[in-house]
Symmetry: C2
Subunit: 130 residues, 2 copies
DNA sequence: ATCTCTGCAAATGTTTTGCATCAGC
DNA sequence: GCTGATGCAAAACATTTGCAGAGAT
């Protein structure tokens, strides 16, 4: 059953500031990182509020968690279409890759229902490599 | 001698039990999960010991961390060859998938040197799905 | 006997929650 | 004015660390 009930949500300064922080910086940010950025706009912004709004923004699909291993969680603005990432082990930058592979889901046995998949490459980027 | 500094390590019941737990269960386990399994063999096993030994087993390349997004880490026995994972969003268990796709690396632009890649599927497993 | 490893408890770091108050609608 | 959202502090978790004593060699 999909939820049909409309839940009232309010547009608050802090939520706006957080969204803008993600948009402005343009790279995946940890909760504490957005907090620092958004705090410049909203004085006295509470960390708890950041966590609450991150959760809410993820549910609303405004931001998405980034698929990095064994690192503090990071989020980025959603709506960029299906894509994956390349992470440089030398300079620690994360790059977006376009497109995806056909038939990836063939790896999954019968009976398992796939909702999403994530693919990350780790290695050396163009600059660090040369 | 390759090793200049010889570090004494002892074969303890708890370390053996932990390794056997990973081998026996055969799917990625969180620290708490291994702890539950290994505790049956070693009564009174401390969680701190589990963490310490996980770290040591990772260094010895006996187990490897599994690539999950923004979650508590899980580990599995190393040396199984290249494979990927399926994570059930209902029961939170992680399963191993066999094989990989050809040409995955075609997604990566020229100039980038790939060392490894990780692919995870999220969805509903056979049991939760039926 | 030596010295590492263990279990416990306390410490740390991160995320969540309870509650009185503030502020969007 | 309702009532959801906020800020603060405390709570809840997950992981690490200090220490005295147990156990592997």
């Amino acid at each position: 059953m999909a939820k049909e009930i409309l839940i009232n949500t309010r547009v608050t300064r802090q939520k706006v500031a957080l969204r803008q922080a993600f948009e402005k910086v343009g790279r995946p940010l940890s909760p504490e990182e957005v907090w620092e950025v958004a705090s410049k706009q909203v004085k006295g912004l509470g960390l708890a509020t950041v966590y609450r709004n991150i959760k809410s923004l993820v549910e609303d699909n405004v931001i998405v968690p980034v698929e990095l291993i064994n690192e503090a969680p990071r989020y980025e603005i959603a709506g960029k279409g299906h894509h994956h990432h390349f992470r440089c082990n030398d300079c620690d930058k994360v790059f977006e890759l376009e497109g995806c592979i056909h038939n990836v889901e063939k790896l999954v046995p019968r009976g398992y229902k796939v909702q999403v998949h994530h693919l990350v490459f780790y290695g050396s980027c163009k600059e660090c490599n040369s």
